[in-house]
Amino acid sequence: MINKEFKNKAEEIETLNADDEKLRQMLGGLKKVGAPKNFDFHLKARIAGAEPNSLRKPFLVPWLRYVLPLSLIVMLAGFAFFNLSFSTGNQAVQEVAAGLPPNQNETANAPVETPAKMVVEEPLIASVPANKNLEIRTLEPEFVRSENKAMQNKARAIDIENSLAASSNKRENDPKNNSGGSRDITLKDAPVLFERNANPNSGNVKPLNVKQAEIPIQQVLSQIGIEADYTDKGWKIVSIKENSLAMRAGMKAGDLIEAIDDKKLSSDTVFQQAFTGKVFRILRDGKQIVIDLNAK
């Protein structure tokens, strides 16, 4: 049988230069070696002793030598890296959760400064439920204190707004009514109330006990736009603010307020809890008139 490969090589036309041809002769002239006499014997013994699976070197053996240590190193490095990053991250989270800015200790005892734009007024009403906890808050961040003040301002207007809802609606719908304004209604309970200019963080100030909040008559009148002085018979209106509730109700300067809701007024009249006064008994030019704030 003619070996096909040899036949192909014989058919190949290859042009070699003199040096290549000489090299070919040199290489081709090398003595060819053959297998030893006992080649077949040893081969049979080798086949008989070898298991098919043993011929295949474990594919992973050379790989394990390098891949396994490298993978362990990578895993350890990754483990250390994540632990380090998590530990620093947790520390940051804890600081944020505490809600304390870095210089919290420096400002904790600082006197409370009312922002210029915040309108701080005496708490007029107490709408806090009976079961409200009124403990003093001593370590309140600045933004929380400001927010509480805002909530206080909102809360104090609730009852007045509610009581005047019916009459105010009519007035608001009146195109001639230029009172404008907005109605702030909070859905949350009123926060802890403190007296004006009091520093709740000082530790010496107690919150107002809104359960028994006493509202002086002067404040009541001031809230509805009346500046009045007490006389023997009652509170005489000195002036009324433009477009105030009192003016819209028809009160005038010079009127003498004798009673509110049939409660005769004195110089130190106070109202308990929420002020819900509606009917003002007024003496004007010797005549008694009754002005119902809800009516107009």
């Binding site: 090589k9 090299l23 003595k31 297998a35 080649f39």
Partner: protein, 210 residues
């Protein structure tokens, strides 16, 4: 027959049950798959000398060449079921032998064998080439090479792996370019370029003989 050029008078004459007509490699393989051990013996008989010679020229170490030649046949035997007739059997077995030889070369590099010539010096501190005692009897006088052949053998063994295999297959084993490309799993152009490069390197190493 192509194998006649191998003058191996001591080769065993195997008796086999195969008919006197010469069967192709593929037929012998098919018979081996059916359990005919004699067919496999014929396969061994045909290729043991070329494979041993090829590995010897590649490794320049006879014992290692014999060992790898046997390993080649062991692998052929146990993978006989997976052999497909898409390629010639000679291509298949030479590919196995080449891969084993390349693996052995890489093992040598990793082991970083010490050069024995540096360990022995004369009193005048000149180096003496150390010759390992040849305790095993080599096949016959065919293995005794003259100085030029030894030089050529060393020059071939000094070639990089990717040039060594194609030049041996081409110039010593008389393989065609196409078969060499199949054995080495290379393109035809790459095969030719590597053989050309190998020739140039050998001419440089053997320039004294040109």
């Amino acid at each position: 027959m192509a194998l006649d050029k191998f003058k191996n008078a001591s080769a065993e004459v195997l008796e086999y049950a195969v008919p006197s007509k010469i069967l192709s490699d593929h037929a012998l393989i098919e018979a081996t798959k059916q359990g005919d051990e004699a067919a496999f013996a014929e396969i061994v008989n045909r290729y043991r000398n070329p494979i041993t010679n090829f590995l010897y020229r590649f490794l320049n170490d006879y014992e290692e060449a014999v060992d790898l030649a046997q390993e080649t046949f062991v692998r052929v035997y146990f993978a006989i079921e997976r052999y497909h007739t898409d390629y010639a059997f000679s291509t298949y077995i030479y590919r196995i032998a080449t891969n084993l030889a390349i693996s052995e070369i890489r093992k040598r590099k990793r082991r970083q064998l010490l050069s024995l010539t540096g360990l022995f010096q004369n009193e005048d501190e000149s180096e003496t080439e150390f010759q390992l005692p040849d305790e095993k009897s080599l096949p016959d006088e065919d293995l005794i090479e003259d100085e030029r052949n030894r030089t050529i053998a060393r020059a071939i063994a000094a070639l990089p792996d990717k040039y060594r295999a194609p030049i041996i297959l081409r110039e010593i084993e008389d393989k065609s370019y196409e078969e060499i490309a199949q054995i080495l799993n290379l393109g035809l152009g790459t095969t030719k370029s590597r053989i050309s490069r190998a020739r140039n390197l050998l001419k440089e190493k053997l320039k004294h003989y040109f």
